[in-house]
């Protein structure tokens, strides 16, 4: 089916672009005029044009004749595939007939699909331009919108990163639709210096960067979840200077808190780096 589509598309594209569309497409356009201009600029329009042996509009929306007959009869059921009203799975199946490959191969088991999202929740097939950008994600994930505007943030709002830098919205084999098997391997894609491994490992760091950091944004420096010494004392109660912040001590309270001395907190490669001070 796909081969026939592609070969047909090849021959169709070779014909000058002023080729007449199929008779059925002309009939579609006689009512749906607003679609033509934008569709021809879309990826589908550029690739397949308006003329296509397999049916142009019909290749996605179904047989035109049945629809036209239903319109003439003024039936309630207009006998056309309307993806806005179909269930997510059914709507997606039509797209997956061609697009179940590459980044979309995990769609059927993805969190988005299971939540009832379908292709048309995010994509506009009849219009040009890729439907990407944070605002699209924030339309559902509203809690992340405020986080992205916090003082400590990754460069999303500056346009140097996007949600898709870490997540695959079409589904992935990683947790939370991350592109890698773990949170850490996602972070290491950019923070390669923290991959290690190190002679002295900081165990919760190795297990999950999100133990200490909130990647979506924070009111604390360095995307940290807690302020200064109060982060470290959530896990360290060794006694002495470790346990309690004191105003008049360098050790914990000002600057970078405990990291003033424990500078290699992500892991140390110094023979005497057991406490990450070297």
């Amino acid at each position: 089916m796909r081969k026939i589509l592609l070969i047909t598309a090849f021959f169709i594209v070779c014909v000058p672009s002023s080729a007449w569309p199929l008779e059925s497409d002309r009939q579609c356009l006689s009512c749906h005029r607003e679609i033509k201009e934008t569709y021809l600029q879309s990826r589908h329009g550029i690739t397949f044009g308006m003329g296509q042996a397999e049916g142009g509009c019909e290749s996605c929306h179904g047989p035109a004749k049945e629809h036209l007959d239903a319109v003439d009869r003024e039936d309630k059921d207009l006998r056309i595939e309307n993806f806005r009203t179909e269930s997510g799975s059914k709507a997606a199946d039509r797209c997956l007939a061609c697009h179940e490959r590459g980044a979309t191969v995990y769609w059927k088991g993805s969190a988005h699909r299971l939540a009832g999202v379908n292709c048309f929740s995010c994509h506009k097939v009849h219009a040009p331009g890729q439907q990407a950008g944070m605002d699209l994600c924030f339309s559902c994930h509203q809690d992340k919108k405020g986080q992205a505007l916090k003082s400590s943030h990754m460069p999303l709002r500056e346009g140097k990163m996007s949600c898709a830098s870490c997540h695959n919205p079409h589904g992935s084999f990683g947790p939370r639709m991350l592109k890698t098997p773990t949170v850490n391997e996602t972070c290491y894609a950019c923070h390669t210096e923290k991959r290690g491994p190190f002679l002295w490992e900081h165990a919760p760091v190795r297990e999950n960067c999100a133990t200490c950091h909130d990647p979506h944004g924070s009111n604390n420096p360095g995307l940290l979840k807690s302020k200064g010494p109060f982060l470290c004392t959530q896990c360290h109660q060794y006694g002495g200077h470790v346990n309690v912040p004191r105003y008049n001590r360098v050790s914990a309270t000002y600057g970078k808190g405990c990291i003033n001395c424990h500078t290699r907190v992500h892991g140390s490669n110094h023979p005497s780096g057991v406490k990450f001070t070297r």
Binding site: Y106, G109, D143, R195, F230, G239, V244, Y254, N269
Partner: protein, 803 residues
Amino acid sequence: MKRILGLGFAAVFFQVSLCWGAENAAGGVERTAGLEAGYQHLQGGDSSKFNEYRDIRDGAYLYRLNLDLYDRSSGRSIDLRGTNLLRDDQNALLKAAGRGWSFELEWDEIPHLISTKARTPYDYQGSGLFAAPTTAGVDMSAAGASAAKDTVVADYLDSTLRAIELGTRREKARAEASLKATPELSFNLQASIENKEGFEITSAPMGDRPPRAMNTQIPEPIDYVTRELRFATEYAEKQYQIQFSYLLSAFENEVDSLTWENIFYDPTSGTSTTVEDGATDRVFSTLGKTALYPDNIYQNVTLSTGLNLPMDSRLDATISYSRFDQNEDLLPYSTNDLGADWSSLSKLPRTTADAKMNATYLRLNYSINPLSRLALHTFYSYYAMNNDTKTDEWYYATQDAASDTGGVSSINQRRNLAYAYTKQNYGIDAYYLFRGSRLGAGYEREDTGRDFREADTGEDMLKASLSTRLAEVVSLKLKYLYGERDSGVYNGDVTDASYHLSNAAESGNDRPLSAFGNHPDLRKFDVADRKRNQLDISASMSPVQDLSISAAYNFREDDFDSGVSSAEPLAGTAFAAASGVTPGDQLGLLKERRDVYSADASYFYGSGLKLSVFYSREMVEQTQRGMSFNENARISSGFDWDEAGQQWMAVTQDRTDTVGIAAFYPIIPEKLTLSTDYTYSYGTVEIDYSGFGSDKPLDSNTYYYAFSSPEKVSHRHHVINAKLEYRAFTNMTVCLGYLYDRYKIKDWMLSPSGGWVEQVGSEFLLRDSSVDNRWGNRLVTLGGLLGPSYEAHVGTISVSYNF
């Protein structure tokens, strides 16, 4: 490089877009080209925070260039895109494609400006060496009031501080080629190289521990290169797909170590100096050294397959193997011989890190629709992080000079533990369509086994969801998750394996093997028992055409109550503290709760007016308990780890309010439009501290242990954008733009005040003014608020032209 790239890109753009069209207008080749260029003026914005990840400055600006050529007859295309060319945040992309192949070249730069007001007495010599041009020359060995010595140091800083810009810049070049050999078989090859250069913030501590630490913040030189090569192939049929990828990533740090001179004392006078420190003098080094991030290599192989099976079901399976290698040459224990050859590599059990880890990941997903209204999804994943780094015994030389404690001896030998873990997740979800609604229920189990951690954990999670429409106008979604994690037996002494001494060889105070390391009532929250509640509610409606409203509430709560009860950690021993009983109140993070309320609305009026508003409030509350006790008196008669009165509580309230308003109005349709938006974000962090130390007076002679609820941290950010666009001709638009950006920060951690703080220029000098005014415990910083408040106005005039 930046100018060459930007100018070259622009030259190609103009050459092709101006010449191509004339020659090929009738040839069936479609061309779209455009550019936006202009001039902008910046007033204010004198803070690194303004340009933290961007480059806005006075001058001419090439915002955008794009050129798209498409030949329908051959299917070939060329796309050229450039944004912010000739700026520190520029991006340039060239893509050529045809039927079944594509080739891309991309250049991207990301600035990260940390501070424009940092100052340091140090002079960077290159190769990680920071030299102090002169030193304070304080005679720290003499007993006496430290106030006089503080004055010497302050005068020294006053005369030696010099400016240094803190920040980094990433520059990445990427090339990617794709080939579709057949409709089913495709290949992709990607290569990239990224340089990251600049300075970040680190510290140069002298001394082994507080109160015996003198510290100086210094810039850490960043000179990283990451080279990556990725190969991927896919075979895709309608019924099944197979994907394979291999990634090789090599990280190189051009600066292996950081070396710094002691600004308080002349390094040429010797390798160590004595510092008067109350009753016991300490030995400090005059030169310090630490290891920076080592070079490493990462490899990953991933094989995935997806199978479409009968009954509208699908199975996808992924197996992934990652390997992490690092074998950097190690530094010796000390830069100084410490009288016994401690600067020689021969003292080390091995001279290279020989660090290696590997991770294996397996994921299976199966989805099926056994009935038209019923969907089932089941999954299994397994992740194993294995640590093959060789364990040896290493001496813990706490600094580059011997001192009375923290000296290099067998007491301080440690083993590097090979932390590793495995994680298994499995579960099932079911969804049922019922009268236009969608009901969901699910169960998931997560089991994590850990080496050298306090606990293995197992968690059961139950999930429920509902998606429905109310009265045809309101769409409502609810999602709930309840999770219960059990850590089983919590072993707080697991890290005893890193210590050298056996029970029989116990002596001195540092005896965690027979005493304890962390307080027995502590539970580390990442491996503690946990009850988790998550609730998401969202509703959206369109009460009238062109008006849409949505609201959401997100709730997250983690309760780490682990049923801690009193313990007698030294019962049965011969220690004086054998009878001690812990209070039985859990220490560490006890609870974390997050509530997010959000709403947004958008309205489209017939004349083209578009309005949208957004509001969100996020409230995060963390509750934790700590305890002060004398680490040197665990086993002695003076122990205090059993006194509930030594406990403290901290409740942190972290709030963020965000408001956004946007409007678009066609003043003259198709001719003159106005768009504007306003964003306001107000984030605060308040810590309510109570218990131990909160009742102590805070003055220049403040008590040894004293803390109180600090001032509220606040970040207030206003951004207004306004743009007036006039379409002068069909292809040309003139735009007047204005950006107002105001940021205010208050942060007590970065702006200390009190009797123990002295301001010198832009730096603050902290000293321990408690009890005996000892010399140890000093911090010289690079400055207070390194990214301070600012107010900026940016005016722009630009022209966009489409060829």
